[in-house]
Amino acid sequence: MYVAVKGGERAIENAHAWLAEERRGDTSVAELSVAQIREQLALAVNRVMAEGSLYDPDLAALAIKQARGDLIEAIFLIRAYRTTLPRFGATRPVETGEMVCDRRISATFKDAPGGQVLGPTFDYTHRLLDFKLAAEGEVPEAPKADPRSESTPHITEFLQGEDIIQREPESEAVPGDLTRQPMSFPAGRDVRLQSLTRGDEGFILGMAYSTQRGYARNHAFVGELRIGTVAVEMEIPELGFAIEIGEVELTECETVNQFKGSKTEPPQFTRGYGLVFGQTERKAIAMALVDRALRWRELGEDFLGAAAQDEEFVLSHSDNIQATGFLEHIKLPHYVDFQSELELVRKLRREAGVDDEAREAAE
């Protein structure tokens, strides 16, 4: 005899208990601390902060621990926490020209004021597994240089001096916020950039890659990539002036793109822009390429039907929390709609006489 499915509540509790045990793993192995994750898995922490849209390395590390290393799950934890936080106000725009750079490279000029600084990059490492790390080797101290005392100018400023690169329109408008206003199309570049910076790294990477392979190609030079810390300043109404409330690490990428001109624009270089929390250069470069692809209308280019040019397509599908939620919801029961489909398919088959033929064939 069938007994109506009961006991969902206890099943959920037991599943949670098992999950907690699995998260901890073998208890004879020392437990990871949040500080260890923050310090030694910093790039994972950066990704969680960037896509979680919350700059807090300790919380991001905690989320990674709780999520068993599933970064999208960790991003989800951060997002859900973030929405509950009160907003005290908005900071002033950060001044990336004043960034204290750990890394700063240009692919367009051999040298420029501020120099080429490789910084802590994987770029020229040979990807050979380092078995010494398995034995927990100590790291020798890296050589140190004095930091530059003067600020590092943006490479695009030099091109701008020559007026050979497109000028960005200046605006005092308050940028949109897709976490407070429902998305509507056309979205405007402010909301596009916000969407891209918190979009899924894999998705943005794939979109950017598609432009490199010819789907709305806009050959991009990395005019500049810089990583470092910037001061965050906020106007305090009671004081009447801005004070520094902290600093954040950012990756900024400005691409310089070929452009032969269009009906409305003269031949000049054009730009794509990427700005992401933390040391996240793959994401920042990809973001700049996709940003550039999405600017076709503003630059009077043709829409070539490429996915990366299609604002509604890119923005509607870049958020991994939305995507994973909807994808995974198909695990939920669908007995009712499936039942109605069963009835329909049976009816259509009956009417088409398929079952009769099948029965005859079997006999």
Partner: protein
């Protein structure tokens, strides 16, 4: 959970959602954009319904949650527990005892009354979405009341299959104006959409809220010669014998034996308690 506000969302957010609900009630069937929040459950798992419930719940309410008609499916349990924890409201499984009912994929069998609110979880609020993927286009089609594409789709179904091949999320026209997706309820439930209770639809990921006020005309799209037909499995419930309820099919063994039971678990339970017995049921009444 004492750090969180009543029903989890802060009051500003609830006001924003209530404004969207009121607009939805004023323009029945129209999809109102709202700034959906990230909830502590995944998108696609009822975040729209949860936000609408959070905005309408008061401490005096009695709350019921069903998924596939049942109070005991895992996600219904999870959502019910969420509001027990964050709003400390009374909960019930009895349809008539609830003042707010959140549902996924079903309308309860028992008739709802004027003092009840039915909150639907909606995955894809746009009835035209699978005919036209672009929101910019579908919004235009709604504003121009340009629903020809939908009728062509239904017509093509008939010419291809001899019948309209939509069995759930069957499109309706509300108050003779907007074509609306009633959420993935089986078309069996469509006639119940004209009811005394307030119906609110929440789509979190897609950032839309829409509503059907009490006693609003809701017509399932059809043709004169192919009229809409609310269908269900052609059996009575094997537990309570009901002939008028929507049924789930359950596989009993590997010999192809099946049984059919009410998808509305509260309806089935109350019938059995009243002494009704189906083919495979046992006497439960004292």
């Amino acid at each position: 959970m004492s750090d969180y506000n009543f029903a989890y969302l802060d009051e500003q957010t609830k006001r924003m959602i209530r404004r969207a609900i009121l607009k939805g009630l004023a323009v029945p069937g129209y999809q109102v954009p709202f700034a959906s929040r990230e909830m502590p459950m995944p998108y696609g798992w009822g975040t729209g319904g949860v936000q609408v419930s959070a905005a309408v719940l008061t401490p005096e309410d009695t709350f019921k949650v069903i998924d596939q008609g049942s109070d005991d499916t895992t996600n219904a349990v999870s959502i019910r527990k969420f509001f027990e924890k964050t709003a400390d409201v009374a909960v019930t499984e009895a349809t008539e005892a609830a003042s707010v009912i959140q549902t996924r994929h079903r309308i309860p069998e028992a008739e709802l009354s004027e003092d009840q609110i039915l909150v639907y979880q909606v995955p894809i609020p746009e009835p035209l979405r699978f005919l036209e993927p672009r929101e910019t286009e579908t919004r235009k089609m709604h504003s121009l009341e340009e629903y020809g594409l939908m009728h062509v789709k239904l017509y093509e179904d008939i010419s291809q299959h001899g019948a309209i091949a939509t069995s759930y999320a069957y499109p309706v026209k509300v108050a003779d104006r907007y074509v609306m997706d009633p959420s993935p309820i089986p078309k069996f439930d469509n006639p119940k959409l004209e009811m005394a209770a307030i119906q609110l639809f929440g789509a979190g990921r897609e950032q839309r809220i829409y509503a059907v006020p009490p006693y609003t005309p809701v017509v399932s799209l059809d043709f004169e010669d192919y009229p809409f037909e609310a269908t269900k499995a052609d059996h009575p419930c094997d537990l309570c014998g009901a002939e008028d309820s929507y049924l789930d099919e359950v596989i009993l063994d590997d010999a192809g034996n099946r049984m059919f039971v009410c998808s509305d678990s509260d309806y089935c339970r109350s019938r059995r308690e009243a002494g009704h017995v189906g083919r495979l049921g046992v006497e439960t009444a004292a």
